[in-house]
């Protein structure tokens, strides 16, 4: 038998050092196959070998010899599963999608042959796709897509107008992410990292190339020549191919002068502990993981803080102290902990750089194209117009891709040094160690209720465990919940010689809700009151109050089991409330150009899986009454007008109104030329076409208008301002606890989200469903684990760092309360973060309801659950 790839004869793979995925991508240019985990866990690299789904990252390339290989490109975009994935919006960023559709295509075909056109149940689909992970959490759409493909619903329906405009590119493997950029002659860069938790770097000795020359090497360390965690970037090397680059990186000799280190929170707290930062300047330069600048505060050894917020703080403290002295039964004072949750987007941090005629071209996996263009220009001292940052497709980010990270610095510097394009893509082990995580927290909550059941005082002390970084805001966020009773909240940071945290989706929110919402449920129990009824009394937020009304009528809540549960499997239902500030990017701009008789929507924003590409096209099309297919959207280029960064839940609420404004400006400009264009309402197709043909080259730029009543804060340099009103969410979670084997199975979830008007129902719902998946991961599985003695991160692959799979997530219903933001242009705010805050907290309350055991520490692992049933 011949070697065939996608039906055509192919030459035999001859490089024994390549795996099949590398061979397909690098030698054959079939970049639809993704390498995401490199250890056969995530499924993004799945291909068919003689029809059998195979993890190609673990398959030697030479094992493709005399076999027939099919990649996602070989499915041709016409397999019913591909159409179904697009139609059901079974994807977000799209990085895992090729692997999913390749595996699902075999499952669907096999299932239909055996069973006919009937839908398999969720368990069967979860079994079939057990080897695939979607970090965005698009599992609800995937279940629907696979079931409907099995029903034969997509046998001849062409791919047209899916809810997400770029879905066809993602289900076919055509979407090119940063690591897929294959410029001829691209070298590979590899980062050399610290093996010590704390050391002075004396000297870095370059490696020697096979030709006996000094290998190219760039410095990544900066001025103070000190490494403060294992895995910190020191330098980078490059070579024409990856294997050689890795050999060179291993051959670089770093002369280190080890210094005393603290690798645990306990050690860092000791009075005689070595200091992570010794000088004021070092402390001021500590990296931060808050989304907004954190409050100024003092340091005591390795402890920073407290940053204190509150009102009537003295009253709050004296009431709580008195209550403790008299052993008041309505005082709930408990400690709760969380651990590091790693962003680990399936597309790792990746950069491809090249210099040409004084211009810097940088393909970058980033969530802030416009801002990064500014920062790159500043860092390398270039005029902005000579910097070309491109991120057309970004495989997830969740807060971790918002800076000029070491991969970008390495690629840019190495490219200048070697005079060729250089690609630096992090391995999964690097991504899991030094690319960001949500820090762990230790949070003490005290709640005091009066005899009337009203909240009389609230105090929260929280300590963030973010390695060398600072900026915990867990306690501060708690001050925004449950009315205006006296309260004092204090945030501390504890620094250690471990990797830095970064802002992660709703920074501080999930650990805050985990602590506060367990405490509120504990209070409900003390008061003998239904947890919903207590929240309806305590919580004055009008949007959440609207959601509580829905919850009261929800069968999932109303008909939940009551009384003590017995037996091995126990069902429980819990809820949690959440809030999030409304942030906006005042600088948002959208440009409309008439090009080749068509309309092009451009902006320097980027789609990390949220669906903003679709929202922009739809907003313009709706405003003009034309079809979204009749215009094209070009985002992800830093040379375009300023686009909002995908952080702070502000992209849609900033970019959407700017797109509408651009449409209005276009209409006015067209009317000057073509009076047939109506002043308002839909533009008839023929009129629009003719108007465009007479306006070639026309360019208008729309802006984000101001909110009625203005904003709460002035605009900051980071294109960030706070608007009036808070987003709200209420999650209701049902779980089944297997008390014999210590496993929690989330079965159903209701996610009520109050973020004003929803721009695109399906992509918004997808994001909220994904927030549930990530929250389940946070509650049950996700945990960075370190070696205490050395500070080495042990959970450096996706086997040891556990993400939820298809079989681990509840059937989720999303409800949108769309009122309350009429003062905002477009009527809606962001929801990426508010939808993520309360999930784990609701799950914890559900486990308590099921078992009668109140857990204080996340994640709820089997070893913690197995003893915990009444």
């Amino acid at each position: 038998m011949d070697t065939r790839v996608n039906g055509a004869p192919a030459s035999d793979p001859d490089d024994p050092e390549l795996n099949a995925a590398e061979h397909l991508r690098d030698r054959l240019g079939l970049t639809g196959t993704k390498i995401a985990c490199g250890s056969g866990v995530c499924g993004a690299c799945t291909i068919l070998v003689d029809g059998t789904p195979t993890a190609s990252c673990l398959l030697p390339a030479t094992h493709l010899t005399q076999r027939s290989t099919t990649t996602v490109e070989g499915l041709g975009g016409t397999h019913p599963v591909q159409r179904a994935f697009a139609a059901h919006d079974a994807l977000q960023c799209g990085y895992c999608t090729p692997g999913f559709v390749v595996e699902a295509s075999v499952f669907v075909d096999t299932w239909r042959t055996a069973h006919g056109d009937v839908a398999p149940d969720r368990d069967t689909i979860a079994d079939a796709l057990a080897g695939h992970l979607c970090r965005c959490g698009a599992y609800e759409g995937i279940f629907s897509a696979v079931a409907s493909a099995c029903l034969g619903e997509f046998d001849d329906d062409p791919l047209r107008a899916p809810p997400r405009s770029d879905a066809p590119d993602k289900v076919t493997g055509r979407a090119r992410f940063t690591d897929d950029q294959a410029l001829p002659g691209t070298w590979t860069g590899v980062i050399v990292r610290s093996t010590e938790p704390h050391a002075r770097v004396v000297r870095v000795h370059p490696a020697t190339t096979p030709d006996g020359e000094e290998a190219p090497l760039v410095d990544l360390l900066g001025e103070d020549r000190t490494v403060r965690y294992v895995g910190q970037a020191i330098a980078a090397v490059a070579a024409p191919d990856r294997a050689e680059a890795r050999r060179l990186a291993a051959a670089v000799r770093v002369e280190l002068d080890p210094l005393p280190a603290v690798t645990t929170a306990e050690a860092a707290r000791r009075p005689d502990a070595p200091l992570v930062y010794e000088t004021k300047a070092q402390r001021a330069a500590a990296p931060g993981y808050g989304e907004a600048p954190s409050l100024r505060t003092s340091w005591n050894g390795n402890v920073r803080g407290p940053a204190v917020v509150g009102w009537r703080t003295a009253t709050a403290v004296s009431r709580l102290r008195a209550a403790r002295r008299r052993d008041d039964p309505l005082l709930v004072a408990e400690e709760y902990t969380t651990v590091a949750q790693v962003h680990t987007p399936l597309e790792p941090h990746a950069s491809v750089a090249f210099w040409e005629d004084g211009h810097l071209h940088l393909y970058l996996s980033t969530q802030s194209v416009s801002m990064l263009t500014d920062k790159v220009a500043e860092r390398w001292g270039l005029p902005r117009e000579r910097v070309h940052v491109v991120a057309e497709y970004v495989g997830g980010a969740f807060g971790a891709k918002n800076s000029v990270s070491p991969d970008a610095v390495a690629a840019v510097e190495l490219s200048r040094l070697v005079g060729a394009p250089v690609r630096v893509s992090l391995e999964r082990s690097e991504e899991l160690v030094d690319a960001g995580y949500r820090p762990g927290n230790r949070t003490r909550v005290a709640l005091l209720a009066g005899d009337d059941g009203e909240l009389r005082a609230l105090a929260v002390d929280s300590e963030g465990d973010g390695g060398v970084s600072v900026g915990s805001n867990v306690a501060t966020l708690a001050a925004l919940m449950y009315g205006r009773s006296p309260r004092r909240v204090r945030d501390f940071d504890l620094v250690t010689h471990r990797p830095p945290g970064q802002p992660m989706r709703g920074p501080g929110g999930p650990p805050m809700a985990w602590a506060l919402e367990q405490a509120v449920d504990t209070m409900a129990l003390r008061l003998g009151e239904d947890p919903l009824s207590l929240r309806r009394r305590w919580d004055g937020n009008p949007k959440r109050r609207a959601l509580y009304e829905r919850v009261a009528e929800l069968p999932l809540w109303r008909d939940r089991p009551r009384g003590a549960r017995t037996g091995r499997f126990r069902l429980g239902v819990g809820l949690a409330a959440a809030g999030w500030p409304y942030l906006v990017g005042p600088l948002a701009r959208v440009e409309l150009t008439v090009r080749n008789g068509g309309l092009v929507v451009r902006s320097g924003t980027q789609d990390i899986g949220t669906g903003i590409r679709t929202v922009l096209g739809d907003a313009v099309a709706d405003r003009l009454g034309i079809r979204a297919e009749d215009l094209s959207v070009e985002i992800g280029h830093g040379s375009a007008v300023h686009g909002t960064g995908s952080t702070g839940s502000r992209t849609t609420t900033s970019m959407g109104p700017a797109a509408v404004d651009a449409a209005d400006r276009l209409r006015a400009a067209l009317r000057e030329r073509s009076p047939d264009v109506p002043e308002s309402g839909p533009v008839p197709e023929q009129v629009f076409k003719e108007a465009l043909s007479g306006a070639e080259g026309l360019r208008v730029v729309g802006e984000r208008g101001r909110d009625r009543w203005g904003r709460l804060t002035p605009d900051t340099a980071g294109d960030l301002a706070a608007g009036r009103g808070l987003g709200g969410a209420v999650h209701v979670m049902e779980v089944e606890v297997d008390t014999l084997l210590g496993r929690v199975r989330p079965t159903r979830c209701w996610a009520g989200i109050a973020a004003g008007r929803i721009y695109n129902e399906r992509t918004a719902r997808n994001q909220c469903e994904g927030a549930v998946v990530q929250g389940v991961g946070y509650a049950l599985f996700e945990e960075r684990r370190d070696d205490v003695a050395t500070g080495v991160v042990l959970s450096d692959d996706l086997e040891e760092y556990r993400l939820p799979g298809m079989g681990d997530v509840p059937e989720t219903e999303v409800y949108f309360h769309q009122k309350g933001f009429e003062h905002v242009p477009g009527g809606g705010i962001g929801l990426g973060e508010v939808s993520a805050v309360g999930v784990a907290a609701a799950l914890g309350n559900a486990v308590f309801d099921a078992t009668g055991h109140r857990h204080h520490d996340l994640p709820l692992r089997p070893d913690r659950l197995i003893g915990g049933a009444r």
């Binding site: 024994p16 050092e17 795996n19 490199g38 250890s39 056969g40 866990v41 499924g43 799945t46 070998v49 059998t52 789904p53 195979t54 993890a55 990252c57 673990l58 398959l59 030697p60 030479t62 094992h63 595996e103 979860a126 079994d127 079939a128 057990a130 080897g131 695939h132 093996t195 294992v230 037996g567 091995r568 084997l741 210590g742 496993r743 199975r745 049950l780 599985f781 684990r785 370190d786 070696d787 205490v788 003695a789 050395t790 080495v792 042990l794 959970s795 450096d796 692959d797 086997e799 040891e800 556990r802 939820p804 799979g805 298809m806 079989g807 681990d808 692992r861 089997p862 070893d863 197995i866």
Partner: protein, 328 residues
């Protein structure tokens, strides 16, 4: 790195006789071990093209011989194997993921390296990589052994080995010292330097199973955090032969567990208490006592105490399942 692709067992053994040469089957674990530095790069012998190593053959007496290059997916899907050796098929279906089962082989599964995070992290040395300590013992060993047999604290990773134990299967080898070895003897829990006893010159060609028993019932369970695609914290498999074509009392039973010790373990005493137990009825007291007594087998490390109740629970689950006892 050189790779040869011989087409006969004789050529393979000749290649393996050279210093530093390793055999490669499906390559799933070997690729991961090369990537993380568990194994140093060196010459490889691919077994893909060697005839006779792949597939299930049935002997005249009705017993099966599973070629070492047979994929786990084949074992999981073969209907005749499922009828003859249900404990083996159930175990194969539950391990790894579809796209790993499709290429991972029976031989590779039996001879794979353990999953200890310290072993697979280049920052650490341990007994398995030429060092003289076990960093997991003093460090993170949440997934470590609860039956402590020796210096290494990593449980054996092979689920199939556990299933083969309940059948007392035999591994066929091509090597100087022996040509067959009980699967149980492939492992030595007291040796911290390696995960099986075969030297690099040995080639496993097949696993031979005994004559199947008509009406055998079996159950398999793995305890994990997630529902699927996760290495077990504890796993258990049970097979029973019942009187009256499967409806009567248990006549013979075998139980094995994994995830708890350096080797898969057979639970002989517990299996004996199952004899006489009747399907669909409450568990006899002697069985529940034997389940409690599993604690006596255990010698937990500081962080693996939870595996005692988890072991008891997992074994209880498979016993109840195989006897058709539901609800408690």
């Amino acid at each position: 790195m050189t790779v040869t692709r011989p087409t006969s067992v004789a050529e393979v053994t000749a290649d393996l006789a050279r210093e530093g040469v390793r055999a490669r089957a499906g390559g799933t674990d070997l690729s991961a071990c090369l990537e993380t530095g568990v194994i140093a790069p060196g010459p490889l012998v691919d077994l893909l093209d060697v005839p006779g190593l792949d597939g299930v053959t049935w002997n005249a007496d009705g017993s099966a011989r599973v070629g070492a290059m047979t994929t786990v997916a084949t074992v999981a899907a073969d209907p005749r194997l499922a009828t003859a050796y249900p404990a083996l098929a159930a175990t194969a279906r539950a391990l790894a993921t579809p796209q790993v089962r499709g290429v991972a082989t029976v031989g590779g599964n039996l001879l794979q390296r353990n999953r200890c995070a310290y072993l697979r992290n280049p920052a650490f040395d341990c007994f398995q990589t030429g060092g003289d300590t076990c960093p997991a013992r003093t460090g993170d060993h949440l997934r470590g052994v609860v039956v402590d047999q020796g210096p290494c604290a990593a449980p054996h990773p092979s689920s199939l080995a556990m299933a083969f134990l309940v059948y007392e299967a035999t591994a066929h080898l091509e090597r100087a010292s022996a040509t067959a070895l009980p699967v149980a003897d492939l492992y030595d829990g007291t040796d911290p330097t390696r995960d099986h006893v075969l030297d690099a010159r040995s080639l496993m060609t097949a696993v031979e199973l005994p004559v199947p028993v008509a009406g055998e019932r079996a159950a398999y369970r793995r305890a994990t955090g997630r529902s699927r695609a996760e290495w077990p914290l504890v796993e258990a498999v049970v097979r029973v032969e019942c009187a009256d074509g499967g409806r009567g009392p248990v006549e013979r039973a075998a139980v094995a567990v994994g995830g708890v010790a350096r080797t898969p373990l057979r639970l002989e005493a517990l299996a004996e208490t199952l004899v006489g137990a009747e399907p669909g009825r409450d568990l006899p007291v002697r069985v529940t006592e034997a389940l409690s007594d599993l604690a006596d087998l255990c010698s937990p490390l500081p962080a693996t105490g939870y595996k005692v109740p988890l072991l008891q629970g997992t074994v209880r689950d498979v016993v109840e399942t195989v006897l058709g006892i539901t609800g408690r």
